[in-house]
Amino acid sequence: MKTSRLRTRQSYRLRLNRLLGAISWWSIMLIVGAVFLYPFWWMVTSSFKEIYEIFAFPPTLLPRVWQWENYAAVFTFQPFARHYVNSGYIAVLVTLGTLMISSLAGYAFARISFPGRSILFLMLLSGLMMPLEVTIVPNFMIMRTFHLTNTHIPLIIIPILGTGGILATFMMRQYFLGMPSELEDAAMIDGLTRVGIFARIALPVARPALAAVAILTFLASWNAFLEPLIYIDDLAKFTLPLSLRGFTDQYGQPVWNIQLAATVLAVLPVLLLYIVAQRQVVESLSRSGTKG
């Protein structure tokens, strides 16, 4: 009698606990969701508003009139199409270059034994801890010596060969370490050279790692801000992150609706990639994660 009452009281408490848990879970998550979604909501809707409506109080949830011409204005305000192309081709070249060099190096560090291998690898690895701002000044001086400032070359070469490439090499090596050696042994007996094994056996197997490196590298290049800010002066050579800051009036104040339309266009490919390949994007970024 007594024990059963105890048990019902316990299950009652358990259920109350669960209910309270669910209520607090949902209330916290709705707030969190609002905090994280509101900036995107505001970005997209404001990009369609007239400038005065952006400042309306109380704010309007949707534009009263959808101003598609904001998006046309983006391209007349600045050579935005040019900036888009710049960002695109730089990010593609950086990604291709990084894939080539890091897969070669990562493969060798994982699968080929040569004297000094671990010391070389540790040396490269030590470069990963270096904040970008430590080496930015000498890198700028090097590029200036070779008259490569105000060109896209530093934006392409330095990420491929510098810290970005090292991170990619590290990721590729991790993957190749887990490759079964039977594959290589069989290929070796069949008379394939190292180059053949790398190209025909190892690379196809490493597709997931290549995808992770590609995503990470593309995003880093597309979103890079400090390097273009330092290296590029000419408006025609700007990349998107620089371009977005240029939508200002003669007093230096942002022309909000046009700027936001440009921002939407700049973020769009990345968001599409995220929607299409969310799992891969999350994995590749969290594997690299060294952000505060």
């Binding site: 969701g33 979604l37 080929i112 490269l124 930015i136 000044v137 060969l161 990345v270 994660g289 060294t290």
Partner: protein, 316 residues
Amino acid sequence: MNTPHTAQLPTAPAVGEGQRAKRLTLAQRDALYGYLFVLPQVIGFFLFVLGPLIAVFVFSMQERNLLSDRVDLAGLANYRQMLADPLFGKVLVNSLIFMVGLVPLNLAISLTLAIMLARSSRRVSFFRSIIFLPVVTSAVAWAIVWNFILQGEQGALNQLLALVGIRGPNWLGDPTWAMFSVILVRVLKNVGLNVVIFVAALQDLPRDIVEAAEVDGATRWQSARHIIIPFLAPAIMFVTIITVIGSLNVFDHIMLLTGGGPSNATMVLAFYVYHAAFRMYEIGYASTLAVVLFLLALLLTIVQWALRRRFVYSEN
């Protein structure tokens, strides 16, 4: 690179005709491929990482200006200038404030969210994707939006506060609030990354123990406090360290939100390097600051290694 294998290369003739002894053994040829494969990356490391690092030390002992080609030897003058520079002291304090403000906030939020989102269901993965959204968005886009939200008069945050009768400050323009605002914006941008790491670590949590504790009447807070957090201790340490090191590396958000102002309230070390080099054109002095930044990063990395060895935590 000067190994016997490479030295033999020129003497090794076109393969064939049984020219014994001059051919490379299989292992030697393999090693040669190894060197060839890593060569571009190693060259890149010397050109763009190690070389510049050495150059930073050299520049720090020179009087160098970005606008003239003149270079004078300065000895330790830049270091003396730094120690006498009142802004440098402020910058160090700011960097510390930034770190001490950012790391606990990031950890508290990411840990709470990860614990709340460690199950797999459709609603959970929906919220997880939302939280990760800013991570893929560029810092510039994120900052543009927050610049608006945090405005003094017409900003969305202050409009919201006005509804409950609070008159909010000019978040980015007020020296007392600017640093807090930058920290908040940066935490919201990057917290999703740490949530993912914690969620991954929580996959291995023995569920039955938590359920048993709940049956015994433990509240969520109690099971989090006594079961989940101790279980996550190694992951928490790992995330703490990468977040601390990452907090040194803050340029974008400072540049885009406050430009180091108001009255240098958000001037942190990484930004001061940029400021000295590309706004004041003092390459020598900027390099001295970069040396300090490097030493700080090195120190934190050594601490990280020491701790990791001690706790024997594998990242897999």
